[in-house]
Amino acid sequence: MAKFEYAPAPESRAVVDLAPSYGLFINGEFTESQGGSAFKTVNPATEEVLSEVTDASAADVDRAVAAARRAYNGVWGRMSGADRGKYLFRIARILQERAREFAVLETLDNGKPIKESRDVDVPLAAAHFFYHAGWADKLEYAGLGTNPRAHGVVGQVIPWNFPLLMLAWKIAPALATGNTVVLKPAETTPLTALLFADVVQQADLPPGVVNIVTGAGATGQAIVDHPDIDKLAFTGSTGVGKMIARSIAGTRKKATLELGGKAANIIFEDAAIDQAVEGIVNGIFFNQGHVCCAGSRLLVQENIAEDLERRLKRRLQTLRVGDPLDKNTDVGAINSKAQLSRITELTAAGEAEGAERWDNGCELPAKGFWFRPTVFTGVSQGHRIAQEEIFGPVLSVLTFRTPQEAVAKANNTPYGLSAGVWTEKGSRILWMADQLRAGVVWANTFNKFDPTSPFGGYKESGYGREGGRHGLSAYVTTESNG
């Protein structure tokens, strides 16, 4: 009998033009660091060094904030909304025109499959700029309050899981509302942010409106601590989020924090089972599970658990793990060695605590950072793999008997970012959405994102919303809310 082997279908790297090293993008141009050092960024799929980037010093951050302040006072803060909108539309269009370049670079630097960077990250990033461009001249009518005004200079620190998309989530609303920006991309994934600096130049954005400083934790801390920052926006781990909240306590700085999650994906007995299986796969294996809102806890009604597990495991055997640049790859590389160690450590704990481990047995490349799609069954609430965010392609399966029990288990976590509900019963969806303490509840789908829809957490998953009108409100002050 025939076997349908897919021949390699690699996307070309030729579209990407990488410099051997990058400076900092401050006041509209790339500049050398003052007192900072350099570090290498690697392709996690091959461990190949892609380029060298700057580890910005506190002095560099100070220059960036000063540039942002000048731009805010001199140009951007005074510009009409309609004119700001023109710049944002221009950026959105350039992102679309250069979509392939961004997708390939994102995949190289991050390890995610080209399928996702091409079909999700880059189109959504452009969509965020388009969406917010439309709001720029309509803020008075967005229902934010009376006379919405920008905060001023915004410091933004973003994670490595969706580097360009998180940049868009941060920069688009900030600029639409008239703020200027100092943004730090994650240490392991700085390259698309640096390419975005090129887009900023191409769009002829006034100097200093967007400043991009690369670096690690200390650079981020310098942004957080800088006295001339009016507002902070952070996406990343709950641990760092708490540090930021402590740092700014007692200051005038506003903050929005989008932190970790341990989302429950809840499958009822009457769910459309084949689509639920797809939703589970998409929930936890999308982007190698490096998703803060990943459906990492599968709560399945006990009377269908066996059948569902069988279907899920069969499906996971068709997942294609490997070269992220191959257009047929479903699961790419783990972003860094450190993250791989964390996943390895937590899964070992899962086994030690008595959960049953299964993986799809796929071959993994010899070089780079890789982890097989893994499922733990027989997990209980007390296991670490049911409580801690693994941030990898690892699913913990728990069962429940009644809707009330499902809600109790889903909510029994310090996190509250997202949840999924799978049932053909509309009334149950509404009841569940009302009961679940999570910022996003998906019904019969998972990991769907749209710039019009607010995203953010309950409890230790953070505060503030991004996207939609709610997201705009985090970037303005009004006469009613001060």
Binding site: A2, A7, K115, D119, A271, D274
Partner: protein, 350 residues
């Protein structure tokens, strides 16, 4: 495979696969449903107890499979596989013996410039053209499939449908493509549809005890919802169909990828339940190699590679063959030739 046909010309069943057995469908249905008497209410409970299909999720999955990038060696494999799975079809009121002979000649020699080109699995015609097709195909391994049971509407009384089937078989048909009574299905008369299929399956038995394989056309474009497609698929398999087939080609939409995906899930799950394989045939609207390859990807990733065989998967198509041949030529000579370099026995009359 003796239960299928004695004739050597049937597309051979893969030796390591289960074949469609000639079972008593009513007895098996009683066993599967756990009832002593097969009633419409028992069938309704069973079919309505199948898991629902979420339209958005199903279409999203199909679209995702459609983004697979099939290049070089895998494309060459898929093109030859697709050609060998075609039921080369002419179902026109204007069909003549000459047209059918032309189609048969095309099936025998799809690309005169390259004898290594595989032949389609079957030639599919109306019942009155079966003898002509059979004679033209000689003792080649290409099957003759006949549409029957008052194709395409199915609006005739049962004796007419059975006579239609028997006539085609007597004329030498290897395969029968029947239509279900969509009116009966949509009005909830599942037992009526079951009996109809079971009786046609019985009529597929030849005097010597061998059987023509039965493809059950559900006309999914008239069933509209994916839930209905899933139920009709299970009903057709339960009643003894050897193949479930999307469409007549006379109703739009015909064979869509999500509908075929639902049917492939059905045959996969049916094998889990019974151990038996049932074939799938999307028909109508598949015109390009690119489309055909998306279907093969779906076969591979949903049902599994066991179904990647002309015995278990077919395309009901006419113009698809020439597009596949063009692509095949391009892969061989490295450049596109053009429509004048593939033979066309089915140009439009108008």
């Amino acid at each position: 495979m003796k239960s299928i046909s004695p004739a050597v010309r049937v597309v051979a069943a893969p030796s390591d696969s289960t074949s469609a057995p000639s079972v008593d469908p009513t007895g098996r249905a009683r066993d599967l449903l756990g009832v002593s008497r097969l009633t419409n209410s028992a069938l309704t409970s069973w079919l309505h107890g199948l898991p629902g299909v979420d339209q958005v999720g199903c279409e999203g999955r199909a679209a995702g499979l459609g983004t697979r990038s099939i290049k070089t060696t895998s494309k060459a494999f898929a093109i030859d596989m697709a050609i060998s799975m075609i039921d080369l079809t002419t179902l026109e009121g204007a069909d003549t013996a000459g047209k059918v002979r032309g189609l048969a000649a095309k099936a025998l020699h799809p690309d005169p410039s390259d004898p290594s080109t595989p032949s389609p699995a079957a030639v599919c015609v109306y019942g009155d053209m079966v003898a002509t097709a059979r004679a033209a195909l000689g003792d080649s391994p290409i099957n003759v499939a006949a549409v029957a049971t008052a194709f395409p509407s199915g609006r005739a009384l049962m004796p007419v449908k059975l006579a239609d089937t028997r006539d085609a078989i007597a004329a030498g048909a290897d395969e029968i493509d029947m239509v279900i009574d969509r009116g009966a299905f949509l009005s909830g008369d599942y037992l009526g549809v079951f009996r109809e299929i079971a009786q046609v399956a019985e009529a597929c038995v030849r005097e010597d005890g061998s059987r023509a394989r039965l493809k059950v056309i559900m006309e999914t474009g008239e069933l509209v919802t994916y839930d209905n497609v899933r139920r009709a698929s299970w009903l057709s398999m339960l009643a003894g169909g050897d193949f479930i087939k999307t469409s007549t080609g006379k109703v739009s939409p015909a064979a869509t990828l999500p509908v075929t995906l639902i049917m492939l899930e059905a045959v996969r799950d049916w094998r889990d339940l019974t151990g038996e394989m049932v074939g799938v045939k999307p028909a109508g609207g598949i015109r390009t190699s690119k489309d055909a390859i998306k279907f093969l990807v779906t076969v591979s990733e949903i049902a599994g590679d066991d179904w990647l065989d002309p015995f278990w998967f077919r395309f009901g198509a006419s113009s698809l063959l020439n597009d596949l041949l063009l692509q095949r030529q391009r892969m061989r000579i490295g450049a596109y030739s053009g429509p004048d370099y593939v033979t066309d026995d089915s140009p439009s009359l108008y």
